[in-house]
Symmetry: C2
Subunit: 436 residues, 2 copies
């Protein structure tokens, strides 16, 4: 790992230190995805079958998971895992219900009723990848807020294995969250199918979920097309930034950095600390913990571009973190809460020694679909709000129009929009004529 | 105008009837904007000056509006207009405060504190175009929610005239909303400047506001670049859909359709009615009102691709409207409110005979920056939420981790993420060792 002395760096070197790995974006990727989307739009299911044969090595019968397959999957899941899924789901529900937006109504003037009403998205598409391992937690993080939002039509795509079977735990989690329509599709073709619809897969209004470079590029392309679909978030590799002081346990800090690094070679893990002793101890602990970590190879590749940074004090650490805008921020310092008010850019924050990132990934209740790659500067993680439209309403009585119509007419005239003005004054004249 | 009998159309013809005009997007536009952005990134202010000379015909001194210029602008605005701006601002504030998100904190389990905290965006960029007329209302719709969100650093760009002066009413509205940094810049170059920063214009985290095809394309391009800036909404031409029954005043309906049509030739105005008599009367009223409308030429061009559609009943009208997903929906029918629950896709809704769209455009309190072009299927209009990040927080006590740690560890193991599991179990072991 690279140990860095922040004070010794000039502005350019500091900026370089906070840079993400360049995006996995190339002309080949862009054109390849565009071709694939065009194929799915042109030939629908038959293209989906052909691509699934080619990329997943699997000959699909029906594209949709059948009730029998759901049952079979349920029978394969250990009771301990079912309990864990149920327990996580309950806390995720509790947090997402508490943070859901609500209808609002008020009179902004006598006779001028203004409202903000919620409308669930009509049909949403959830993408659950299956890389090195199944991701039932992603099912929970997407399907629970969709259900709370009131989305009745929830579609999910997740790739099948060579035998044409989806992961049992993913299917169990889907059913536990009320998702009944799951298609055995992965990759950019799944995104294309949900954005445009095929014979089997219905067209969705918004697509959610993580994925590899192909999936990310496909989401980007369908989001740009008004005939396509909206998406949850711009995506990038996962990342953690840990701020720790001399009070922190080096073994805990090392474990937190490693649990980010094991996601993949493009993951980024950064430690900021005012304690050189802690930094040295963390470095040693990382080496020790890597010794028997199953995914040590992946983690080592991620660590190659990760950094341990010595900063003069915690205030500097928080400022640097705000500039970096990490997806996950762990504040493993004394009186961690006292620093919270100064954090402005982060996806999700973990306070104190007993809050490892893994609890947020699985079961504290918060969502784990978060803005990466610096997008936390302007984006928020997935929540119930991601699954609803906030529609505004106004209803004026005749008195209401009498009260605010003249203001609207004055401003319309100033903007040179006479027809706007007349839509108001015509009504005001009618009211004046009919007044006794 | 085109009068259409909905029942006589097959599915293809119905879909065609609800189609928007094709996007003003071309390879030339895309490449031209990309070149312009690259120029601004390379040469900063000097490029901005050169482009402003070429496109706005104006030789800029300082790019920023000075305090003296703000004062001079204020002196030029009529008291009646100042009152109208102040009155509109107050109601917009009232509505946006009432619909602003708030912090939330709860324990999802004993010892597991979870929160959702708001953080204003650090720096936002507001774009206020100046086409055929100034748009002070757009200043209000962007600057008021930014202020409520707590954004301290608000930047605005609006083009100057050939003399190098910005519109006095726009400057007055900006100052009334607390915006102090206004740059005399328009077009795609203004978007590039705010997204990447120049010597004079600071880099912004998110850009807001309407604009022409160049501005829209520039916003799209900077939003795609992780080094660029987020944007408020995908944009398209403005549109209204009116649902009216036999109880509606044809003159009101005609005025509402015209106040949309006058925006420009690509505006779309659609009427759905179960009453043939009303449709005929509206058509006649449109012709009569066009006679002395200053922007009649623009309106006629928009009306050429607008439609008056006869539907069998109001339930059909609402279904068709939901499929169209209009930016503005006017429900000018008896008991308009009784239909509200069935509307799911719309940007903003106007109920009853006394709620012309112009009140929402200016001063009912709701926002007029709304999803167009069918984006109301998945997007909401601008609100305070557009100017904040919703950051999640979790703080576990030792007891909290004892309670939910095993669940996280079980799920991490199932996903093959051993380092995640160990970040939890290492802490649980420590707690077990230290327990008495």
């Amino acid at each position: 790992m690279n140990i860095v002395e922040w004070s010794a760096l000039d502005a350019t070197a500091r900026a370089a230190m906070l840079e993400r790995a360049p995006e996995a974006q190339s002309v080949e990727l862009r054109d390849g995805v565009a071709r694939l989307i065009a194929q799915v739009r042109a030939d629908g299911d038959s293209t989906l079958r052909a691509l699934t044969r080619r990329y997943d090595g699997c000959e699909l019968g029906a594209l949709a998971v059948s009730a029998g397959e759901f049952d079979a999957a349920d029978a394969l899941v250990a009771p301990e895992l079912k309990r864990a899924i149920g327990e996580a789901r309950e806390r995720i529900e509790r947090f997402h219900r508490a943070t859901a937006p609500a209808d609002v109504a008020l009179d902004t003037a006598p006779g001028v009723r203004c409202e903000r009403v919620l409308r669930p998205l009509r049909r949403v598409g959830l993408y659950v990848p299956s890389g090195s391992a199944p991701l039932p937690s992603t099912v929970l993080m997407l399907a629970v807020p969709a259900a709370i939002a009131g989305c009745h039509d929830v579609v999910m795509c997740t790739p099948a294995n060579a035998q044409g079977d989806c992961d049992p735990l993913v299917l169990h989690a889907a059913r536990a969250c009320g998702v009944k329509r799951v298609f055995k599709l992965g990759g950019a073709q799944a995104i294309a199918a949900m954005a445009y619809g095929t014979e089997s897969v219905p067209r969705c209004d918004k697509l959610f979920g993580p994925g590899n470079a192909w999936v990310t590029e496909a989401k980007r392309q369908v989001a740009l097309d008004p005939q396509g679909a909206a998406i949850d978030l711009p995506a990038g590799p996962s990342e953690v930034l840990v701020i720790a002081d001399a009070s922190a346990d080096p073994g805990f800090v090392a474990a937190d950095l490693l649990s980010q690094a094991e996601h993949g070679p493009d993951s980024q893990a950064i430690l900021l600390s005012p304690s050189s002793a802690l930094i040295m101890a963390v470095e040693a602990a990382i080496e020790a913990q890597l010794a028997d970590l199953p995914r040590a190879d992946l983690a080592r590749r991620a660590l190659a571009h990760s950094r341990l940074i010595h900063v003069p004090d915690l205030a500097t650490a928080v400022r640097v973190s705000n500039d970096y805008a990490p997806e996950h921020l762990i504040l493993n310092v004394e009186n961690a809460r006292s620093w919270l008010a100064q954090v402005d850019n982060a996806g999700s924050i973990f306070l104190g020694p007993w809050s490892p990132e893994a609890v947020g990934d699985y079961c504290s209740g918060t969502n784990h679909v978060l803005p990466t790659y610096g997008h936390a500067r302007a984006w928020s993680g997935v929540s119930v709000a991601s699954f609803v439209k906030l529609v505004t309403v106004q209803e004026l009585s005749a008195d209401g129009l009498r009260a605010i119509g003249p203001c609207a007419a004055t401003l319309a005239r100033a903007e040179g929009l006479d027809a706007h003005e007349r839509a108001v004054t015509r009504r005001l004249r009618r009211l004046a004529e009919n007044a006794v």
